[in-house]
Each structure stands twice: as structure tokens, then as C-alpha cells.
Symmetry: C2
Subunit: 301 residues, 2 copies
Amino acid sequence: MTPLHFADRLSDAVRRCGNAICLGIDPRWESLPRQFRAIAGEPTLAQVADAFAAFSIRVLELARGKVPVVKPQAAFFEGCGPDGMRALQTVLRTATEMGYQTILDAKRGDIASTATAYADAAFAGTPIGGKPLPVWNADSLTVNPYLGRDAIEPFIQTARASQRGLFILVRTSNPGAGMFQDLDVDGVPLYRHVGEAVAKWADESLGSCGYGDLGAVVGATHPTELAELRRLLPRVWFLVPGYGSQGGAAADVAPAFDSQGLGAVINSSRGLTFPYKPDDPAWESAITQAIDRMIADLANR
Amino acid sequence: MTPLHFADRLSDAVRRCGNAICLGIDPRWESLPRQFRAIAGEPTLAQVADAFAAFSIRVLELARGKVPVVKPQAAFFEGCGPDGMRALQTVLRTATEMGYQTILDAKRGDIASTATAYADAAFAGTPIGGKPLPVWNADSLTVNPYLGRDAIEPFIQTARASQRGLFILVRTSNPGAGMFQDLDVDGVPLYRHVGEAVAKWADESLGSCGYGDLGAVVGATHPTELAELRRLLPRVWFLVPGYGSQGGAAADVAPAFDSQGLGAVINSSRGLTFPYKPDDPAWESAITQAIDRMIADLANR
């Protein structure tokens, strides 16, 4: 029976695959293997969107059964307009059919009924005449906390009603993240205050794995802070970006895990999907090898 | 000749209309006038999206020449999936053709090349093979600052290269906004630190009107803070939500303006687009009257 809690489905997927990799899908036209760019003349956005979908699905096939979690980045699909959003829908549906847990990385955030509209779209669907019509139908969504309590609660309530999860931005992986996240508030940085709020919300919906359905985004590029947050937020799943091309190594992400190897999923996007030159005919084996290398690397952390 | 700075185009539009109203387009199925919901059986998302576009365009026609700025809320269009995003595109294009300045209210925020992807989509277009292919083609975009410096700079650079504008969230209008925005950092609330960063960025791209192309979102529901921010950020355009249905009155938004009546646009969404019961056949005149009332109300501030 499929567990009712997102946290438990995530735990099961990580246990089943024996690793905690999150495969980030950030398609870029210039980086696509040549076969997907074989279009006569200048491509239209609809053609680019089709290429993004076809490439992403091939990547999903290559990682199937090996990797537990997939995270499409909404920005690159939005870059192809409505056709790109249709490609995003196809990628999410295919990933779910293949048994992946999905994270829609859209970093949404707004207030009240607007937040509910985003959450409905992300999860069970937009209710029209009382019946929800599915849009993205993702297992979880990344959310920006800046707008505060009544901007996050509609996401929490909608996620809970449809047994989905959230990852709230706490400490991001970018070099300039500290500009506001590190500002000192009562002797501790802002991100710790956000983290503590996330911990409280996570406790409201704990799965039998011991984690809540509400997680946190915590970058691999700040290992000390990752360790500190792991200690302070023991029941919060971490989505950890920044491994690989952003500079984080296996040792850097090790503090994100509990003693059972649960509690964190480690994202790699370009490192897994584009570990080759666009004209390399052996791009598929390059992807497979990159996945195997990351599995081995994380196992030796 | 059309001014090269977004700030100047905004000033011109406000002067030309003689008011600083921003018409928020937040379509909701249940609130649409009956004629747009006349569909046999349960509507599909494609039909809802078509109804959103048709209704929004009718609203744009009713406000044409009277109101300078239009702000579609991406969440409600995203709620209809890819077809909804096509409707959003239609609404933005139509608004531009009718001479409105447009604000895409999507509260985007991400890092590095992902932020650039959102900004390209919002403004000049996604560069494929060097040529930008337009997606939303809005005059300006709302942006969330939580991710910090290298999350905002790609938006600033992309906006500047295409002569567009940004509105960065500083102090939002929702009751729970203070949860993080009011946290005390060195004796002043977090939102003031964000505001000061916005002021610095705005100064890098000043139009001849004296304002920068980079604005701030500051809620009407906190009049004291609005006055304080106006004083501290004298060259930053304010996008002011919270007037009308969220409780802000003309007196509350008065401090947002400079002595020439520039420097702020005051948003109203439901108050202007849904000032009637869905079955009211006189919905068009209700909209016209609501606009006229708001113009008069702001003039008497």
C-alpha cells in the first residue's frame, strides 16, 4: 500500500534505490545532445519545448529504478512559454508513471487565495465547480518563505489535504545567499529563524519514518550550516542543492543525513544530465556513468 | 518617442491618465460574469483559460485610456495549466497593444542562470541560437528577494538590457507579512534592509523622471511603514497592493506619492474586476463605476 505521507513515500523511494539522489532536470537548448536539436532552420519555442520533453524523458528512462527523486526546474520550461509548460506537465506525469518521487522546483510564494491557486496547481488540481482539475500533480513543491505566515499556510494546508510535500527555502546554495539569509536577528542568522518555523510546521504532519511532510532547502555549499541545521531540525527532510557543478562534495553533504541514511536528498542537475559535450554521440553512457559515480561518491561519504 | 526607461514610460502613463491605478487581473472561475461560464457540462481547464482571456480582455477594453497600468496575477493563469499560460500571454499582449504598462505579478526568484531564464521569459524573450524568442514580454515583473544578491542581479541585468522594470518584494500587504519581514536586524526591521538594497540598485538606472527602473512592493495595509519607506527610498517606484478589498484606503496610500503625484501605482484587483455578483447583468457598468470611484477616491487623498 502506498504510504499516505509524502515523507514516508520519500523514505521508501530512497531505501528502495539505496541512494538519496535527486535528479535535477534543467534543460538548456545549447546543452542538448545534437539529435534533439536536429531542426530545419531556426527552432520555434514549441520545437524547443518538444526537444526538452523528449530529452528529459530519455534521461528519466536512463535513471529509472536507480534514482529515487526527480526535480524539474520550472524556469527552463517557462522559458518556452505555454508549450514549455505542456512539456513540464509531460515530464512530471512520465516521472510519476516511472515510479519517481517528484519535486516541482518553482519557488512559488504569494499570499492567501493566490498561494492556494499555486498550491492547487502544484498538487491535486484547480477546483472548478468543486472538482479538482490536475495541472502539475507533483509530489512536492519548493516554496519561498519571505511573505510570511499566511503565504506559507495555504501551501501547507493544500499539501496536507492532498498528501503532498513542500520544501521551504531556508539556506540557499548560491554565493550571494547570505545577503539577507545571514542577517543577524537576536544573535542568530535569519535563515535559522526560518528553519525553526519550518521545524514547527513539519512537526504538524509527521510520517511513520519520523520526518514531516514539510522539508527545507539547505545548500551543500555551506557544510557547517548544514550540520547545524540537521541538529536543530531533526524531523525536517532536506533538499540539498549545490552538489557537483556548484562545488559541493560528498563530504560536504554527509552532515545532512541521519544515521539511517535518511533525511536528505542531494540534487545534481547539470552534473547528471549534461556530463558531455553536445556533439558527443556517447551522451547516454556519459549520463549513466555520472549517475553511477554519484551513487558511489555518496555511498563513500 | 517612447522613453527608453521603464520608469519614464510609467511616469508618462500615470501623467497621461491622471491617476496611478494598477488594474489587477486575478481571474477566478466562480466570480466570472455568467456569460463567460456558459459552457455545457463540466468545463475543462482549456475552456476556463479561454473564459479568463475573454473576460480579462473585456476588462482591459472597459479600462482603456482611463487606467495606466495592468497587473495580471500569474497564479490564476497557471491554475489552468499550459492553456492558462497561453491566456496569460494573450492578456499581456492585448494590454500592451492597448497602451497599458504591464506588470507580470509572478514573484519569481531563483539563482544564477535559472533567474536569467525567468527574466528572459518575462522580458525580451528566451535566446535560442542567439535570437530572443518572446514569451511574456511584460514591461515589468515582481521578484522575491530572499535568495539574495546573485538571485536579483540576473533580473536587474536582463531588465536593463531590454529596458524593462522590476518590483522587488519589500513589505507585503498580508497580515502575516511581519513573520520574517519585521524581524529586528541591527535595530531596524528586515524589510528596511531589503528596501535599502533596492534603493541602491534603483540608483543604477535612473530615468529622467527621477525614479529608477527597479521598484518595490510595499503594502497599503501598513501606512506608517509606507511613509517611512517613501522617505528612505526617494527614487524607487512603489507598487502598492492592499487597497480596497484588503482594507487599505486612499488616506493610507497617500504617503506613497511624491509631491507631483508620481512614485507609486496603487493596485486593486477584485475591487475593480469583480464589484458585482456573478449573475448581475450590469457587471460592465459596475466595473466602470468602480474604476471611476477609485479615480475619484485617489484624487481626494
